[in-house]
């Protein structure tokens, strides 16, 4: 269980995140949505200790973030940011094997390699696992990073815009993998996502941020609603039910 209590972050005099409190439902996919600059990524980064908060606390399974041993925390929670550039030349397999570092401290056992192979297969990268990252397309690279996070095998997975650079086929594929992880392994997944229809079709819970504050949160049905969305994005939405999915139309 992840609980956020009143976290804030200032850059200079600007409040990027202001007094955000959240309880993330366990075993579900939670989406963070909101306009650009709403503070979604900053909240995610603070929850995963990538940046320090100015005020407030984050509790993971009842223990405050700073009280955790860094290595133990890496077995509980993983984070993937949207931009990843690495200066070293790594193959996909090398990269994914880094995901086992919290368990093996660099000396991978047979069991660790099993996780690595599974993660690579899960992301359908087995054929190209020996290719170097700089030889890959944006989508393949994104999947390689996701495979690394899978190999890390944490209960909580935080993803900052995982669908960046991906075409429709791979976006859907990734979201289905995330759903599968939640259903089969009872993982808790939090994603920052821009495409409202992906949020609508694949998430269980939605948190809407605007100007550094949570302005709405609730189940997907509660948030995917014309009045609520208008308040968040300041534009008109039509919502149609297509084959059981709530699809937002906003191309005016």
């Amino acid at each position: 269980m992840i609980e956020v209590r009143g976290i804030s972050k200032q850059y200079g005099n600007k409040n990027v995140v202001e007094n955000v409190s959240l309880q993330i439902p366990t075993g579900k996919i939670t989406s963070f949505i909101g306009p650009n600059g709403a503070g979604k990524s900053t909240v995610l980064s603070m929850m995963s200790r990538l940046i320090k908060m100015d005020q407030g606390e984050v509790f993971i399974e009842g223990r405050e973030l700073s009280k955790w041993n860094s290595n133990d925390l890496a077995k509980k929670i993983s984070i993937l940011k949207q931009s990843n550039h690495i200066n070293v030349r790594l193959s996909i397999k090398d990269l994914v094997s880094f995901g086992r570092f919290p368990y093996s401290q660099g000396n991978l056992t047979k069991e660790d390699w099993k996780y690595v192979e599974e993660a690579i297969a899960y992301m359908e990268l087995t054929d190209i696992q020996d290719k170097y990252l700089d030889q890959l397309s944006g989508g393949q690279r994104q999947r390689a990073y996701l495979a690394m996070v899978l190999a890390q095998n944490t209960e909580y997975i935080l993803l900052d815009e995982p669908l960046n650079n991906l075409d429709m086929k791979h976006s859907v594929q990734i979201m289905k993998v995330l759903q599968k992880l939640v259903r089969e392994w009872n993982k808790t997944i939090i994603i920052v996502i821009h495409d409202i229809n992906f949020a609508s079709c694949y998430s269980d819970y939605i948190v809407a941020l605007k100007d550094g504050k949570v302005i709405k949160e609730g189940t997907t049905d509660e948030i995917i609603d014309p009045t609520v969305l208008k308040e968040i994005y300041e534009m008109d939405f039509e919502i149609h039910n297509i084959n059981g999915n709530q699809i937002c139309v906003y191309f005016t």
């Binding site: 990538l50 860094s70 925390l73 890496a74 077995k75 550039h85 690495i86 200066n87 660099g106």
Partner: protein, 315 residues
């Protein structure tokens, strides 16, 4: 293994060069020649190892392949300390003073400076590591200017003494200092072993390292302190030669083509021994001591550096 084969080749080459250096032109005077040359070789291996290890670590921590630890101003500080001694105490006191004392003071001041610099830079949260380098760079320039100022004021004869220190040289390494340095470098290297496993992860950048459970700020600060101590000892032992590091680190990356620091660091130490012993052979046999090793290293290093920049420009 591919890496092992490469490391094996390097080891053989290094050993061959060392043996060649030891026995060339010996003329049967083994008792005289072996200890003398052995001492020099030992100093070469020691400084080569210290500099290549610290440059490798420094480049990984900063995620930048064209930086050397001298950027935080340790080289210039060394020159300032040497000039300062001479300026304040004069040549007679300096030549009378025990070399050990001078060595310990130099190393002490350099490490102290690095610690203070780190302390003030890391105290403020969210400081970029490049900010630290920039401040170090400015301090380096300041030290250099003060040294130059003192150098123009002192007696030309005394200036010769300073000039002697400006270029690294293995020709008159002091045995006492050598023992002191060995102790220091071994102690620091043992401490480094605790953090060695993090280097591969650190090369992925800060965010990935934190995600994988590395206590980033703690580890990076320790590693930077280790770098500062190694550089200080190597510089105080033979003179400013950190340019060697950038040359060796880049050749190692090109040659080893791996991300694993266990291979990279070992390889870089071997390459630096090859470069230094080869260079020393050139100094002694081809140039017959008319130049110093650091001049050759700086020349080759400079040419390689320009090549790197041009290559990077094209890509």
């Amino acid at each position: 293994m591919h890496n092992k084969a490469k490391l094996g080749t390097l080891s053989i080459l290094a050993i061959l060069l060392v043996v060649f250096y030891m026995v060339i032109d010996a003329g049967g005077n083994w008792d005289y020649i072996l200890p003398r040359r052995g001492k020099k070789i030992f100093a070469i291996i020691l400084t080569g190892a210290a500099i290549s290890l610290s440059t490798m670590v420094f480049q990984t921590v900063t995620n930048n392949r064209i930086l050397t630890p001298s950027i935080i101003g340790l080289d210039s500080l060394y020159m300032l300390i040497q000039t300062g001694f001479l300026f304040v105490m004069g040549a007679t006191t300096l030549t009378m003073m025990s070399k050990n004392v001078g060595f310990v003071i130099s190393v002490g001041l350099m490490v102290l400076f690095a610690l203070l610099l780190y302390h003030f830079m890391f105290k403020r949260e969210g400081q970029n590591i490049y900010y630290l380098l920039l401040v170090g760079l400015i301090f380096g320039t300041l030290f250099q200017s003060i040294s130059t100022f003192m150098q123009v004021l002192i007696d030309p004869n005394e200036f010769l003494l300073v000039q002697d220190k400006m270029f690294a040289s293995f020709n008159n390494v002091n045995t006492d200092l050598l023992l002191l340095s060995v102790a220091g470098i071994i102690a620091v290297t043992l401490y480094f072993m605790r953090f060695a496993k993090y280097l591969d992860i650190l090369s992925l950048g800060r965010e990935q390292a934190v995600n994988l459970g590395v206590n980033y700020d703690y580890v990076v600060k320790r590693l930077l302190i280790i770098v500062a101590i190694l550089i200080s000892i190597a510089t105080a032992l033979v003179g400013p030669i950190t340019f060697l590091g950038i040359l060796v680190a880049n050749v190692t990356h090109e040659f080893m083509k791996t991300y694993r620091h266990s291979s990279l660091i070992f390889g870089s130490i071997l390459i630096s021994v090859i470069a230094l012993v080869g260079g020393q052979l050139l100094v002694e046999r081809v140039f017959t001591f008319s130049t110093t090793l650091s001049v050759i290293i700086n020349f080759v290093g400079g040419v390689y550096f320009i090549y790197l920049l041009l290559k990077g420009n094209k890509a």
